[in-house]
């Protein structure tokens, strides 16, 4: 069974979120300005992009494939 366009988008959004969350986990144990900046400017945008891409995949009305 081939994946639909929506499923492929969900897969990509999930991967973006996972990478963002993993990066956030890396910074959580550290008390350092670089960890703070990395969390805010790398981890958060990746997670936010994944979430927005997922929401877009739900509402978009593109033809399959």
């Amino acid at each position: 069974m081939t994946a639909t366009l929506m499923e492929r988008r969900i897969r990509w959004s999930g991967l973006l979120i996972v990478v963002g969350l993993l990066f956030q986990m890396l910074t959580l144990p550290l008390t350092h300005p670089l960890a703070f900046v990395g969390f805010l400017f790398l981890g958060c945008p990746l997670v936010a992009a994944g979430m927005l891409f997922f929401l877009y995949s739900l509402i978009s009305n593109d033809k399959e494939y």
Binding site: I10, M25, F39, F54, L55
Partner: protein, 213 residues
């Protein structure tokens, strides 16, 4: 790891695992229940993890340890231990007039509606300078604007010791001038020894004794 609540770390890890499962099994979303699961996994859980992480990082970024983790700040941290009552930050730090764990932030945030966020934004600028710009010498570091009495009065206003001090009663207008920032606490010659990192080499230092805590 000691500064990270284990529960937040575990929650973020769980959100990542659930997100990964959803990404690998995207075909689950063909049914209604799968769509709801994906919504939870790819929107609600990451948003909660991100919100909790932002709060954790913001809270931690107010710690003295955080501010002093940049090498250029070392002398400013050292100035907190000067054994001289004329050094205003040292007196506040050593006597716990400010929380020692949050000493820098307590005095260097703006006590306004968005003061904490403005302070954090300035901090981000400092990080950029630290890694991408020319790092100034400690003695070249200055405040962006003159220190506002508002920050002092956040704690001292209404305090009996402050209002009844003879030095604050030299003229009847003094307290009201201080209140409207016309007469600076720091630069008017009264409490003008602040961090003064240029004099540290001649200073003596206080060594905290073990408190037994």
């Amino acid at each position: 790891m000691k500064n990270t609540p284990l529960i937040l770390f575990s929650f973020t890890a769980s959100a990542a695992v659930v997100g990964l499962l959803t990404a690998l099994r995207a075909e689950l979303t063909r049914v209604r229940g799968g769509k709801i699961f994906a919504f939870m996994a790819l929107t609600v859980l990451p948003a909660l993890a991100m919100w909790a992480g932002v709060n954790q990082h913001l809270e931690r970024s107010t710690s003295t340890q955080f501010c002093l983790s940049c090498h250029v700040m070392a002398d400013f941290g050292k100035s907190l231990y000067v054994d001289d009552k004329s050094y205003i930050p040292a007196v506040h730090f050593q006597n716990h007039f400010v929380p020692p764990d949050h000493a820098c932030f307590t005095c260097h945030t703006d006590y306004t509606m968005f003061g904490d966020y403005k302070a954090k934004w300035r901090g981000v600028h400092h990080v950029l300078v630290q890694y991408l710009g020319k790092i100034p010498k400690p003695e070249e570091i200055k405040l962006y604007t003159a220190y506002n009495n508002r920050e002092c009065l956040h704690c001292h206003a209404g305090m009996r010791k402050y209002e009844e001090a003879s030095s604050h009663r030299k003229n009847p207008e003094m307290l009201s001038q201080v209140a409207i920032n016309q007469l600076s606490c720091i630069s008017s010659g009264c409490h003008d020894t602040v961090h003064d990192v240029t004099t540290l080499k001649d200073a003596t230092f206080w060594t905290p004794k073990a408190s037994g805590k």
